[in-house]
């Protein structure tokens, strides 16, 4: 969490604001009620694939600080893995998670259709950036809990800005042979959506060509930026915030390419499970995700804050300043199984 503190200087005003809120402990009545009930439940278990473990741990710590007496347990894995776990638990009728955050809102829709989600409209919805708020479920089965565009990362020591790829199809250029890293759509939720997007844009041909470049295939989307930083690979598919925060806080040799054919914008979604063992703690937590502390925390770590009026981190481009693309939720669900199978066939793994 050192990056949290090293960037304090740039955000003094926001920090003061946040401290004021936390210090005053001015909770709304609804929040107070939830807090009381959550304290009785004692803890909340949060299944998360939306962020890295480290970042999720940080969010949990903020929550525990604000709501003393409610323990926050992070269970982090890649998107498909954590979803599979949850489905397993639903089958076993032994649900252990209270709420889940994922980069693949298609998972939320499937859970909703299974009747596994609970409806909840957190108070803090009113303060959200309207565009982001509207990406969520209209019936409040899930909220939008983040947006992390998938972009291209490159190693600035090994690749000049001019050499760097400009768009997705550049990744199939033979000059990147042995130098690309991507995730696996069967493990990572957002890579699943990215695979659908590439197929929609360029047909399966894109992957046939990519395969010739012998990309390193990781399980999670979260290791691409590490491979680029270490120089193991020159370019990789990676989530924007991880690249920006590596570059800024760790002074790592990594930079972003916003692909001209459109970054993938998977809205991250968080929903509460109907059979959550700690339903009130889950609600309190979901509301907290939309609160000022998290907006602050997001912004400091080069993520797009969910609340209106919270400034972006330095060097971060507003979402509407570059081209983004999304996959329709229902489309994602229907296309994913085939795409995963095709990917396995093409890449042999």
């Amino acid at each position: 969490m050192k990056h949290v503190f090293s960037y304090v200087a740039g955000f003094v005003p926001a920090l003061v604001l946040a401290a004021g809120i936390a210090g005053a402990a001015e909770m709304t009545d609804g929040e107070k009620q939830l807090y009381e009930a959550a304290r009785k439940e004692g803890s909340v278990t949060w299944y998360v694939s939306q962020t890295t473990t480290e970042f999720a741990d940080g969010m949990c710590n903020l929550f525990e600080k604000k709501y003393a007496g409610v323990e926050c347990n992070v269970v982090r894995a890649s998107g498909q893995v954590i979803f599979q776990r949850l489905v397993q638990e639903l089958q076993a009728k032994a649900v252990q998670g209270d709420l889940m955050s994922t980069n693949d809102d298609g998972q939320m829709l499937q859970l909703k259709e299974q009747g596994a989600l609970a409806q909840f409209a957190p108070e803090n919805l009113k303060d959200m950036v309207p565009v982001l708020r509207d990406m969520a479920d209209k019936e409040h089965y899930w909220i939008t809990s983040g947006v992390s565009p998938l972009v291209i990362a490159y190693n600035t020591k090994l690749v000049t800005e001019a050499e760097a790829p400009k768009n997705w199809t550049d990744l199939t250029d033979p000059k990147w042979k042995g130098q690309v890293a991507v995730g696996h759509p069967s493990f990572s939720g957002s890579v699943g959506l990215w695979t659908i997007l590439m197929n929609d844009l360029y047909g399966w041909d894109f992957f046939e060509k990519l395969e010739k470049n012998a990309p390193q295939i990781g399980r999670s989307v979260a290791d691409g930026h590490n491979l680029v930083v270490s120089g193991e690979r020159k370019v990789a598919l990676a989530p924007l915030p991880l690249i920006l925060s590596d570059a800024a806080t760790k002074k790592a040799p990594i930079a972003v390419v916003y692909p001209t054919d459109g970054a993938l914008l998977p809205p991250s979604a968080t929903g509460i499970l109907k059979d959550a063992p700690h339903p009130n703690a889950a609600r309190l937590f979901e509301n907290f995700l939309l609160g000022p502390e998290i907006a602050e925390y997001f912004s400091k770590d080069y993520r797009y804050p969910l609340r209106a009026g919270v400034p972006l981190a330095e060097g971060m481009r507003p979402l509407d300043s570059y081209k983004t693309r999304s996959i329709e939720t229902t489309e994602g669900i229907s296309k994913l199984p085939d795409i995963q199978e095709k990917f396995r066939d093409t890449f042999g793994i």
């Binding site: 992070v74 982090r76 890649s78 599979q84 489905v87 397993q88 979260a222 270490s230 120089g231 690979r233």
Partner: protein, 582 residues
């Protein structure tokens, strides 16, 4: 008291003794219930999961009816078949490499005057303590195609930009798998070497064979059974291992069975197909062990017998340095190099930067100890599960070995067979069986430590049983009968006499279980719940996020704890406990 005592008053020669009866409450021995209870536990631990596994492979997931569809789905794809054949190829290559590593080292350490024998022994022992997936991470740091240390040095030396070695390849997979398990070859073959008396070799010498010829014609044939046995175990270990393929075979795009199994275990969960797909592993294992029995039963392989005579070491002359260099190379590949880079990475901000003051940090340890959400609990969980599994397995095995050796139940032989049978079940398959039998309702052990503990106990029961039953066999039955005639039951005898007498044997077996159990990944991977993660699984997750420095730190902590436990054990048992055959 009974009608019998009334007739006593009459002439005792005219009694009909057949009618004499002892009242049931006097005959009752509470221990008999215990034996039955223990037999019941074996059913729970072994028969139920395996039975469920086989049954579910023929069960339609939706209707619950009988079907062959799961097999069609499991084997109906070329990719799935490729994974099977890949696995066999990989297993065969691993066996060759393990033998190339293990046999010469065993010979060098037990029969020659090579220098540094103890160093080699300790290093091989290090390979036992180092979990395969940590060695795998070490090798990723060493031989990652672009930034691995070996390649960087190569690039610096030659100016080349092509990698010299690439860990993400078939060769890499084979190498890392082999170094993670060749200690077993070493242990088994060493003890065989130590049982050959020099007289047999002398006999060949007298007939005119030189030292080399003697080794080839006499010595090696005599250790052949040990070599064959360890080759089989190596093969089985290699095809069932999960951690190394998880790290290497996905980037290497070399699918193997265990990885394919995780696909069936991902969304949508196809438990029944996974069960069907795990049948070959089970059958191959059973078939190979059967084959081993068959080979060893043939004449000519029987001569390595107990005592042996005096053993002389072979004087190698200047060849001793050649051999030493080879041994050094093997232990560097297997232990020294991966361990050093791991340690370096654990104290680095970025492992690629190399060793410098700027790069040095305790931050990774701080992170895994105080910041990471699950690593502290996982450390406790792993150690706790290791302790629990080792303790329960040893106690359970002691009782079973006792029942078997003393023939306390009819069909004791079946109990013995059951206790060693998990041996043929690869960890990952065992986990699927346990999942199918106990994770879901009505038992609903999903997400508990209990289900993992049960699976671990089962997995390591064969080691525990072989250790305990050798121990019980060494105790004269009169030792216990002396307890019983003085008024103690069988359980008193076990507690006050058999147990204490076997303390050292059992403690040695305990360590042999604790070490792998605290590191176990294959069995854990499908059984961990959200709050019951173990270190091996957390390490794998860290590798997935590419956090290799933090992974190295957590891995080092696990190693430190295990080494500490082993060190205490060795102080108590003497360092030889590993070399005793289990």
């Amino acid at each position: 008291m009974t009608s019998v005592s009334d007739t006593d008053a009459m002439s005792w020669t005219k009694d009909e003794p057949a009618k004499a009866r002892v009242p049931w409450h006097q005959r009752l021995q509470p221990a008999n219930l215990l034996w039955l209870f223990l037999a019941g536990i074996l059913v729970v631990l072994i028969i139920a999961p395996m039975w469920t596994l086989v049954i579910s492979s023929f069960t339609d997931a939706k209707t619950g009816g009988w079907t062959l569809h799961n097999y069609a789905e499991a084997y109906g794809k070329e990719r799935h078949i490729t994974a099977l054949t890949n696995t066999l190829k990989m297993g065969a290559a691993v066996v060759v490499l393990k033998l190339l590593f293990g046999v010469p080292l065993a010979w060098a350490c037990s029969r020659t005057d090579m220098p540094g024998r103890n160093f080699v022994r300790y290093s091989v022992f290090g390979a036992f303590i180092m979990p395969p997936y940590l060695a795998g991470v070490g090798w990723i740091l060493l031989a990652g195609p672009n930034t691995g240390w070996i390649n960087k040095i190569w690039h610096a030396l030659t100016g080349s930009t092509e990698p010299l070695v690439n860990i993400f390849s078939f060769g890499g997979l084979v190498l890392v798998t082999a170094i993670g398990g060749f200690f077993l070859v070493f242990v088994l073959v060493s003890s065989a070497f130590e049982m050959i008396s020099s007289e047999m070799e002398d006999a060949a010498n007298i007939l005119g064979a030189g030292p080399f010829k003697t080794a080839m014609k006499v010595t090696f044939p005599l250790v052949m059974p040990a070599i064959i046995g360890s080759a089989l175990l190596s093969f089985l270990g290699a095809i069932a291992l999960y951690g190394v393929p998880a790290l290497i075979s996905i980037p290497a795009r070399y699918p193997v069975v265990v990885i394919q199994l995780t696909e069936f275990f991902s969304f949508p969960l196809r438990l029944e197909v996974a069960a069907a797909y795990s049948m070959p592993l089970l059958l191959i294992t059973a078939a190979l062990l059967g084959l081993q029995k068959l080979i060893l039963r043939r004449k000519g392989y029987v001569s390595v017998s107990g005592k042996g005579g005096e053993r002389r070491i072979v004087k190698l002359g200047k060849w001793r340095w050649v051999l030493f260099t080879y041994c050094l190379m093997v232990v560097s590949l297997a232990v020294v190099m991966p361990f050093l880079v791991l340690l370096l990475a654990a104290f680095s901000q970025s492992w690629t930067t190399g060793f410098s003051f700027d790069n040095f940090t305790f931050g990774n340890f701080h992170y895994v100890l105080f910041e990471h959400s699950s690593s502290r609990r996982a450390l406790l969980g792993s150690i706790g599960l290791g302790i629990a599994a080792a303790t329960v397995a040893i106690v359970l095995a002691l009782f079973i070995a006792y029942i078997v050796q003393r023939r306390l139940l009819p069909f004791s032989g079946v109990l013995a067979f059951l206790a060693v049978s998990p041996y043929v079940v690869p960890g990952i398959v065992l986990a699927i069986g346990f999942y199918a039998a106990y994770a879901l309702p009505p038992v609903a052990l999903y997400g508990t430590y209990m289900i993992m503990a049960l699976a671990f106990i089962t997995r390591f029961l064969p080691i525990a049983f072989t250790t305990s039953s050798a121990g019980v066999r060494s105790i004269h039955p009169e030792m216990e009968e002396a307890v019983r005639i003085l008024g103690g039951g069988r359980t008193t005898a076990l507690r006050h006499v058999v147990g204490p007498l076997l303390k050292r044997t059992l403690a040695g077996g305990w360590l042999l279980i604790f070490v792998p159990a605290a590191q176990e990944l294959s069995t854990a991977i499908f059984l961990v719940g959200p709050t019951t993660r173990v270190v091996s699984v957390v390490l794998l997750d860290l590798s997935e996020e590419g956090e290799l420095e933090k992974l190295a730190a957590l891995g080092s902590l696990l190693l430190i704890i295990i080494v500490a436990v082993v060190a205490v054990g060795m102080k108590y048992l003497g360092r030889d406990f590993m070399l005793r055959r289990s």
